[in-house]
C-alpha cells in the first residue's frame, strides 16, 4: 500500500536530525572554513594578518549562530519541524539540541582562540 503522507514523515526525520545537530553542524562548518581557508590562503601566499582576520571573523560568526540556536530554538524549529515540545520526544530533542549547541560553541571557541596564540601560515 502506498502511503501518501509518508513523504512528510521522512522529511520530518531529516528536519529533526538537522535541528538536533544544528550546533554541531555550525562547528563542522567553522572547522571546514578555518582549516580550508588557512590551508588554501597560505599555499597561495596570502598575507598572514588577512588569514588571521578571516579566522577571527568565521569564529565570531559561528559563535553568533550558536548563540542564536540557544536563544531562539523555536525559530529554527519552525523551519525544520521537529516534534513540538509538548509531544513525547519534542522536549527531549530540544534539550539535546541545546546541549549539543553548547558543545559545538565550546569547540568553535577552542579552535578559534588558537589565532590568539599561534601565527597564521607559520611552520609546524
Amino acid at each position: 500500500m502506498r502511503a501518501p503522507r509518508a513523504v512528510p514523515a521522512a522529511v520530518r526525520l531529516f528536519g529533526t536530525t538537522a535541528f538536533v545537530l544544528a550546533g554541531l553542524l555550525v562547528w563542522g562548518l567553522h572547522l571546514a572554513i578555518v582549516y580550508g581557508v588557512h590551508h588554501l590562503a597560505c599555499a597561495r601566499g596570502v598575507d598572514a594578518p588577512v588569514v588571521a582576520a578571516i579566522v577571527a571573523l568565521a569564529t565570531f560568526a559561528a559563535l553568533g549562530l550558536q548563540a542564536a540556536l540557544l536563544a531562539k530554538p523555536r525559530w529554527i524549529a519552525s523551519r525544520l519541524r521537529p516534534p513540538p515540545p509538548d509531544a513525547p520526544p519534542g522536549a527531549f530533542l530540544e534539550a539535546v539540541m541545546r546541549w549539543l549547541a553548547v558543545l559545538g560553541a565550546a569547540g568553535v571557541l577552542w579552535a578559534g582562540s588558537a589565532i590568539l596564540f599561534v601565527a597564521a601560515c607559520g611552520g609546524g
Binding site: 500500500m1 554541531l24 520526544p89
Partner: protein
C-alpha cells in the same frame, strides 16, 4: 494518520490467546540445522556467528602479539626475523582493528538490538547474513597470508610511499588493500541494517527518548561507518590503482602527494577509534544501571555525549599528522578539537560513576561489574594520555614512540575489550542455555586486569625513554630491557586471563534459549522471555526500564497479550514503527533461510581475492555469479501487499506492505546514497587537495576537452532522469504499462551514455591516467560514476524483468522506486563531476 496507542494501562490483547499461535511462530522462525546451517538468517544465529568469528580473530591477533612480545623481551633478540616481525605487527594491528574490533561491536548490534527492541529480527536479515559470511571468508583468507609469507608489512595504516609498488613489491600490500576494502564493504552492509533497524523496528511507544542507550550508541556507530569508511575505501582504491596501473595519486614525480593518503586514512582512522568505543560505552551504560539497581544518571547528557563524540571525532584526523610539517595554526585547530572531544567522553565517565554512587544497595561485584570497574580505571588513564598527545609539543616528543603504543592500548583495551568481556558475561544468558562461570570470570578478570597493566604501563616509560615503535629489536644501551621483560611477562598473564575465559566458554556456553530469563534483574527488553521468534508478542513500552516499571510486562508479553502475538501473513514478520514516536506503521514480511546470500558472499569474496593475485577471468566469473545470486536473493524479497491489512492487537490494523519514503527499502537506499555521497565528497577533497599541492599538473584551458562535451554528457544524464520520471508517471496514471520496462532500460542506458560521453571526451583530448595526478583524478571521476551506472544498469534489468513478469504495478513497485533513487543520485553526481572537470580548470 498513524494509529495512536490509546490505552496506556492494560495490555492491548486479551488472554488466553487462540491455540496454535505460539506453535506457528516456533515453526516459522525455526533455525535451519545441519548442512543447511549457512542458509540461516535469524539474528541470534548470525549475531553469534559474527561474534564468534570476531573473537577467533581476536585470539589469533593476540597470539601474534605474544610472538612480538617474546621478540622484544630482551635486547638484540632474534626469535623472529626482521621481515616476519614487520608482518606480525602489521597483521596484529590490521586484524585487531578490521577483523576484530569493528566486527565485534557490529555483531553485538546484530545479536542484541532486536532483543533490546523486542523486534523479531532486523529488517534485512539476508543482508546481515551476507555481511557476516563475506567477512568470514575474506577475513580467513586475509589472515592466512601470514602463514605463507604473503602478509603485508607496511604497518596497519599502510603509508605510501613505503607501500607503493616500488618499495613494497609482491602481493602483501595488495592483500591488505583489496581484502580490507572488501571487509569494509561488509561493515557498511551491516551499518545499513543497523540504522534502519534502530529507527524502524522499535516497539510501539519506544519514542527516541525511551530508546536504550545501546541503541543510541549503535545508531551513532552505524552513521559514523557510513560517513568514515568511504574515505578509506577511496584511499585503498587510489593506492591499489597506483600499484597495479601506475596512476600517480601518491607519487610526487607525477604530481601526487603521499600526505593525501594520511588525510584520507585518518579521516576514517580517528573516527574508527570512536566507532569502536561508542558501542562499548553503550554496553557500559546498559550494564551499570543493573549493577547499581538504579536508573542511569544523566540519560539525556549521555545521548548528547554519544552524538557529540561521534560528530566531533570527524574533526580530529590531523592530530595523527602533527609531525608531518603542516602549518602550526592548522595543527592548533585540530589540537583544540582533540581536547574538546574529551568533554563528552568525560560526561559518560561521570554519569557511570554517579549511577554507581546512586546504588540503593551495596554493589555486588559480579564478573560484569568487575570488568566495568576495570574499564573505568584503564580507560581513564588512556583518556588522560590522549589529552597529553592532543597537545602538539608533547606529541612531537612522543610521536612514533612506545608511549603511543601504550596510550592506544589503554584506550582500546580499556574502552572496548573490557566492556566486551563484561558484555559476554552479562548477556550470555540471553543466547546460551547456561550462564558463564562466576569463579572463572573473576580469575579471568584478575589475570587480565593485572596482566594488562603490567604489560602496557611500563611501555609509557619505555617510550619516554626513547624506544621507537615498530622496531624489530633494540640496543641494550637504550636502558629499556627490563621494562620490556616486565611487559612481556604481563602480556602472558593477560593471555592467561583470556585462556581462562575460553575454557569457561567451552565448558558453559551452549547456544540456545536461556534457562534463566532475567538473572541480573535488568530493566530492558532483552531480558523478556525469549523463543526462537524473539518475544512471544511485541510489548508496548512506556518507560526506559520497562521491566522495572511494569513488573507484569514479562508475563503479559509471554502470554501474547501485546502486539503481533501471531503470524498473520503466515511467514516471518516484525512490526515497523515510525522513526521518532515509534507508532505502528506496518508489518514487514521478512525473508527466511536461503542459499542466495551465502553464495553471493562467498563469490564476492572470491572475486576480490582472485583480483588481488591478478587472476582476472576467474575473478570476473565469480563476480558474475555473485551478482546473479544477489538478483535471485532480491527477487524473493518483494512479497506484495496481498494479505493486509492485519490486526496487530489493541484494535490497530496496519498494512503488510509499504513502498515510498515510509518503506524500509527506501530507507536502505537512502543510506546507501549517503555512503556513495561520502565517497564522492572524499574524492572532491582529494581533487582539491592535490591541486593545492601541484597546481602545475592542471592543464591550461586550451588543451581541455571542449565544453560541448560536458553539455552533451549532462544532457544525456538529464534525459535519463526524464525518461525515468515519464515511466513512473505513466505507471501512476495506469497508462503505457507495456512501455514501462523499455523506459526503465532506456533511462539506464542514457545514464551510462552520459558517463561514457564524459570519459570519451577526456580520452579524445589526449588525457591519459598515468600521465599526472590530474589525469588520474579525472579518470577516477569516471570510475566512481561508472560503477554506479553499472549498478543502475543491473537494477534496471532486474526491474524490467519484474515488469515483464507482472510483478510491478501501481502498488507493488519497490524495485522501480529504488532503481529510480539510485539513477537520480548517479545522474546528479555525474553532472557535478562534469562541472568540476570542465569548469574548475578553466577558472583557476
Amino acid at each position: 494518520m498513524l494509529p495512536s496507542l490509546s490505552d496506556e494501562r492494560g495490555p492491548p490483547n486479551s488472554w488466553p490467546r487462540p491455540a496454535g499461535e505460539e506453535e506457528a511462530l516456533r515453526r516459522i522462525w525455526q533455525r535451519p540445522g545441519g548442512w543447511r546451517f549457512p542458509t540461516a538468517v535469524n539474528n541470534t544465529v548470525i549475531g553469534a556467528l559474527y561474534l564468534g568469528a570476531a573473537f577467533v580473530f581476536f585470539v589469533l591477533a593476540g597470539i601474534l602479539a605474544l610472538l612480538m612480545r617474546v621478540q622484544l623481551a630482551s635486547p638484540g633478540n632474534e626469535v623472529v626475523s626482521q621481515d616476519l616481525y614487520n608482518q606480525l605487527f602489521t597483521m596484529h594491528g590490521t586484524t585487531m582493528m578490521f577483523l576484530f574490533a569493528v566486527p565485534a561491536v557490529e555483531a553485538l548490534g546484530v545479536l542484541l538490538l532486536p532483543q533490546m527492541l523486542a523486534a523479531r529480527d532486523l529488517p534485512f536479515p539476508r543482508l546481515g547474513a551476507f555481511a557476516v559470511w563475506a567477512y568470514i571468508v575474506g577475513g580467513v583468507v586475509f589472515f592466512s597470508t601470514i602463514f605463507y609469507g604473503l602478509a603485508p608489512s607496511g604497518g596497519w595504516f599502510m603509508y605510501p610511499p613505503l607501500t607503493t609498488a616500488e618499495f613494497s613489491p609482491g602481493a602483501g600490500a595488495d592483500f591488505w588493500l583489496l581484502g580490507i576494502g572488501f571487509i569494509e564493504i561488509s561493515a557498511i552492509a551491516g551499518a545499513i541494517e543497523i540504522i534502519v533497524g534502530t529507527l524502524r523496528t522499535r516497539p510501539p511507544g519506544m519514542s527516541l527518548e525511551k530508546m536504550p542507550i545501546f541503541a543510541w550508541a549503535m545508531l551513532v556507530f552505524a552513521m559514523m561507518i557510513v560517513i568514515a569508511f568511504p574515505a578509506v575505501i577511496l584511499a585503498t582504491m587510489f593506492l591499489e590503482i597506483e600499484r597495479s596501473f601506475g596512476w600517480p595519486f601518491f607519487s610526487v614525480d607525477g604530481g601526487g602527494d603521499p600526505l593525501l593518503w594520511q588525510h584520507l586514512f585518518w579521516f576514517f582512522g580517528h573516527p574508527e577509534v570512536y566507532i569502536i568505543f561508542l558501542p562499548a560505552a553503550g554496553l557500559v551504560s546498559m550494564i551499570v544501571p543493573t549493577i547499581a539497581r538504579a536508573p542511569l544518571v544523566g540519560y539525556r547528557l549521555i545521548v548528547v555525549a554519544l552524538v557529540g563524540t561521534g560528530f566531533l571525532s570527524f574533526g580530529l584526523w590531523v592530530h595523527h599528522m602533527f609531525a608531518t610539517g603542516l602549518p602550526a595554526l592548522g595543527l592548533a585547530f585540530f589540537s583544540a578539537s582533540s581536547m574538546a572531544v574529551a568533554v563528552p567522553s568525560g560526561i559518560q565517565l561521570f554519569a557511570w560513576i554517579a549511577t554507581l554512587a546512586r546504588a540503593e544497595r551495596r554493589i555486588r561485584l559480579t564478573t560484569p561489574a568487575l570488568f566495568i570497574l576495570g574499564m573505568l580505571a584503564i580507560f581513564t588513564i588512556g583518556g588522560l594520555t590522549g589529552v597529553m598527545v592532543a597537545m602538539v609539543p608533547f606529541d612531537w616528543q612522543a610521536h612514533d614512540s612506545y608511549f603511543i603504543v601504550a596510550h592506544l592500548h589503554y584506550v582500546l583495551i580499556g574502552g572496548m575489550v573490557f566492556p566486551l568481556f563484561a558484555a559476554f558475561h552479562y548477556w550470555a544468558p540471553v543466547v546460551s542455555r547456561r550462564r558463564l562461570s562466576e569463579a572463572a570470570g573473576r580469575w579471568s578478570f584478575a589475570c587480565m586486569f593485572v596482566g594488562f597493566n603490567v604489560a602496557f604501563f611500563p611501555l609509557h616509560i619505555a617510550g619516554l625513554a626513547g624506544m621507537p615503535r615498530r622496531v624489530w629489536t633494540y640496543a641494550g644501551e637504550l636502558g629499556v630491557g627490563e621494562l620490556n621483560l616486565v611487559s612481556t611477562c604481563g602480556a602472558f598473564l593477560l593471555a592467561a586471563g583470556i585462556l581462562i575465559f575460553v575454557i569457561d566458554l567451552v565448558r558453559n556456553f551452549r547456544f540456545g534459549i536461556g534457562e534463566e530469563t532475567n538473572p541480573w534483574g535488568g530493566g530492558t527488553l532483552e531480558f523478556l522471555p525469549q523463543g526462537v521468534y524473539s518475544t512471544r508478542s511485541i510489548p508496548r513500552v512506556t518507560s526506559r526500564e520497562p521491566l522495572w516499571d511494569r513488573p507484569a510486562l514479562a508475563l503479559e508479553v509471554a502470554r501474547g497479550q501485546h502486539y503481533l502475538p501471531n503470524a498473520p501473513t503466515g511467514g516471518r514478520e516484525t512490526l515497523i514503527t515510525s522513526a521518532i514516536e515509534a507508532r505502528p506503521e506496518y508489518v514487514i514480511q521478512l525473508p527466511g533461510p536461503s542459499w542466495t546470500q551465502w553464495i553471493a558472499a562467498v563469490f564476492t569474496a572470491a572475486s576480490f581475492l582472485l583480483l588481488t593475485v591478478k587472476i582476472v577471468v576467474p575473478a570476473l566469473v565469480c563476480g558474475a555469479i555473485a551478482i546473479g545470486a544477489c538478483c535471485a536473493w532480491a527477487w524473493q524479497l518483494d512479497k506484495g501487499p496481498g494479505g493486509g491489512p492485519v490486526d496487530i492487537g489493541g484494535g490497530i490494523r496496519v498494512p503488510v506492505y509499504m513502498t515510498g519514503p515510509a518503506g524500509h527499502g527506501w530507507w536502505a537506499m537512502v543510506v546507501l546514497m549517503f555512503v556513495a555521497g561520502s565517497l564522492y565528497l572524499a574524492y572532491l577533497f582529494s581533487y582539491l587537495y592535490i591541486w593545492t599541492g601541484a597546481p602545475e599538473a592542471w592543464p591550461s584551458p586550451s588543451v581541455l576537452p571542449p565544453p560541448g562535451a560536458a553539455v552533451a554528457a549532462i544532457a544525456a544524464l538529464g534525459a535519463a532522469v526524464a525518461a525515468y520520471v515519464l515511466a513512473e508517471r505513466g505507471l501512476d496514471a495506469g497508462r503505457r504499462m507495456s512501455l514501462l520496462p523499455w523506459c526503465v532500460l532506456l533511462a539506464a542506458l542514457l545514464l551510462a551514455a552520459g558517463v561514457g560521453i564524459g570519459l570519451h571526451a577526456q580520452w579524445q583530448a589526449g588525457v591519459r591516467p598515468t600521465a599526472s595526478s590530474y589525469a588520474a583524478l579525472v579518470y577516477t571521476d569516471s570510475l566512481l560514476n561508472g560503477q554506479l551506472a553499472i549498478a543502475v544498469l543491473i537494477m534496471a534489468g532486474f526491474t524490467a524483468a519484474r515488469c515483464w513478469l507482472g510483478k510491478v504495478d501501481l502498488r507493488r513497485r519497490a524495485c522501480l522506486e529504488n532503481t529510480g533513487l539510485l539513477l537520480r543520485y548517479t545522474a546528479a553526481q555525474a553532472a557535478v563531476g562534469q562541472l568540476l572537470l570542465h569548469a574548475f580548470p578553466r577558472f583557476v
